[in-house]
């Protein structure tokens, strides 16, 4: 088969190097006999090889190789050997152990995330709380008062609100059916983490469902407002109970309730906002410690809140008819008086205690109605009024 110049020139280099197989080399040889251009091409390749071989590399001094040998021996004897690769077993169980450990970590993270989701105000319990609210109208009773609760609902609770309380209060209290008669025995209200609506009366106060527990105790579960802002338990009752793990477990009949708080000084009411505090009380209701859990954004307001709550007094929590120590979370809120807002004052300017107002809940509360300078617990109406005043 006659080859074209194009294909032959691709093989000329290998032909010149003697690397072509005999059959193809013969084809190239036949083509070269008849093609002068390809012969010149081959001559050029051979000339290039000859040219390249004719040039010597840099000529080195005679003693270079002695020096070279000395350097090599120096390197052999003085350079540190590369570290041996560490032994790594190739069988499978370490991989399985790693995978199992990873699985455990993932499970722990998922469980922790679920728990934190449950503990977040209004996160998961809201749906249940809403269902509860549909079934049971809120009891208009003030936490911390001895007044009987008034039950307005006629239905029965089919599914309880999980009032999640940890540690000593570590029970998920299933809210059983509440009737008016039973609910009259309720004396203390808890604020639940489970968010709910405010109830049929549309009040901004927390919806409080009466609970008839198994024994002599009744547990009142107060759901939060839908805006996740722990509501406004008038008089600043214990909003969110959280126990210390050192305390014995058992059913809590009543949680700590704020009884008394010193009036807010003029200089302390310069900022508005809400501080979430961690509070610990002893069995007499005395505040043992208080710290900021979630800042209001104002250091001044945070310190005022801590100071105020340390000077406050609570009604001790009761468990099995005995007063016990407790720890819980407390929302301390300072809000401007609505009258000042309506007059167009800047709520951010200095305001004295007279400019503070009590929430509707506080006014309703016979226990705290006279505490005119207590930090306001905020209501749904307040932001609306602020808007309209602007």
């Amino acid at each position: 088969m006659k080859q074209t110049c194009g294909s032959v020139r691709e093989w000329l280099g290998a032909f010149a190097d003697g690397e072509l197989d005999p059959g193809r080399a013969e084809q190239v040889r036949v083509h070269l006999e008849t093609c002068a251009a390809c012969r010149r091409e081959l001559d050029q390749i051979l000339a290039l090889h000859k040219l390249t071989k004719s040039v010597e590399h840099p000529r080195l001094a005679e003693d270079y190789w002695d020096w070279h040998r000395a350097k090599v021996w120096h390197g052999i004897h003085n350079r540190k050997r590369a570290p041996m690769p560490s032994y790594r077993p190739s069988f499978a169980w370490p991989k399985l152990a790693t995978a199992a450990a990873g699985l455990v970590v993932v499970l722990v993270v998922v469980i922790a995330g679920w728990r934190s989701l449950l503990e977040r105000p209004g996160a998961v319990g809201r749906t249940l709380a809403e269902r509860q609210t549909k079934a049971v109208a809120p009891v208009v009773a003030e936490p911390g008062t001895k007044r009987s609760a008034e039950v307005r609902e006629t239905g029965r609770v089919t599914e309880g609100i999980p009032a999640r309380v940890e540690g000593r209060f570590d029970e998920v209290a299933q809210v059983p059916a509440a009737t008016g008669r039973d609910a009259e025995k309720v004396s203390i209200g808890y604020a639940s983490r489970a968010a709910g609506t405010s109830g049929a009366d549309g009040a901004s106060k927390p919806a409080i469902a009466s609970v008839r527990s198994s024994e002599e105790a009744e547990l009142k579960v107060a759901a939060e407002q839908p805006d996740n802002d722990l509501a406004s338990a008038p008089s600043g009752s214990a909003q969110h109970l959280r126990s210390s793990s050192t305390k014995p477990k058992g059913r809590i009949v009543s949680g700590p309730v704020l009884l008394d708080q010193p009036p807010l000084a003029d200089a302390d009411a310069l900022d508005t906002g809400t501080v979430l505090l961690n509070v610990e009380t002893d069995s007499s209701g005395r505040v043992l410690s208080a710290g900021v859990r979630r800042s209001s954004g104002s250091v001044r307001l945070d310190s005022v809140a801590v100071r105020q709550i340390r000077q406050s007094r609570f009604k001790a929590a009761v468990k099995n008819n005995r007063k016990v120590a407790s720890s819980f979370e407390y929302h301390f809120r300072v809000q401007k008086k609505m009258d000042d807002l309506e007059e167009g004052q800047n709520p951010g300017i200095k305001q004295g205690p007279a400019e503070l107002r009590e929430s509707k809940g506080q006014q309703d509360s016979p226990t705290h109605g006279e505490k005119s300078q207590k930090p306001d617990s905020g209501s749904k109406d307040a932001p609306l009024k602020e808007k309209t005043s602007k």
Binding site: E10, G13, A14, D17, E19, R40, E41, D43, Q44, I45, A47, L48, H49, L51, T52, K53, S54, V55, E56, H57, P58, R59, L60, A61, D63, Y64, W65, D66, W67, H68, R69, A70, K71, V72, W73, H74, G75, I76, N78, R79, R81
Partner: protein, 162 residues
């Protein structure tokens, strides 16, 4: 060793076109060979084995883009064997063809230059080059053809008239 050292230096210089690199790489070649002598197969020629080490070192060096350079060994106190030995510089290359060929080879891409040098200077077969560089024989052929075309163009004045 001197015979092998010169040959290895020729390989390393041919691939790097740089005396300093060639010097370091040729020394490193013998150090590696000494440490790996237990793995040497006596069925093969010693130089073939050492040259393979040198080519691998040079190619690794080229692949690093000259970011990596061998650091001169520290001379220990009292190490008279090498402390007093100066580094003799190579004598200047011939002018004319030698210089032009040097410049032409430097202008070649490293992969083409390596194939060309191993074939022409070292007279390695395509199969040996293929194994040394880890590339197919067809790639060796194509790189050789491209290298020849460029060198013929760069060294046109030394080529016979077509």
């Amino acid at each position: 060793m001197k015979r092998y050292a010169a040959s290895v230096y020729k390989v390393t210089y041919g691939l790097t076109r740089n005396h300093a690199d060639a010097d370091d790489l040729s020394q490193e070649t013998f150090i590696r060979a000494y440490r790996a002598i237990a793995r040497f197969d006596e069925h093969y020629q010693f130089y073939t084995w050492v040259r393979r080490i040198a080519v691998n070192l040079c190619f690794n060096h080229i692949k690093r883009g000259k970011k990596f350079r061998f650091v001169p060994l520290p001379i220990a106190d009292g190490d008279d064997e090498s402390a007093d030995i100066a580094d003799p510089q190579p004598q200047s290359a011939d002018c004319g063809l030698g210089r032009d060929l040097e410049q032409a080879l430097v202008k070649l891409p490293p992969d083409q230059r390596a194939v060309f040098v191993l074939r022409v200077n070292e007279e390695m077969s395509y199969e040996e080059i293929s194994q040394a560089l880890g590339i197919p024989v067809g790639t060796v052929m194509s790189r050789l053809n491209r290298a020849r075309e460029k060198l013929r163009e760069l060294l046109r004045e030394y080529m016979p008239a077509t």
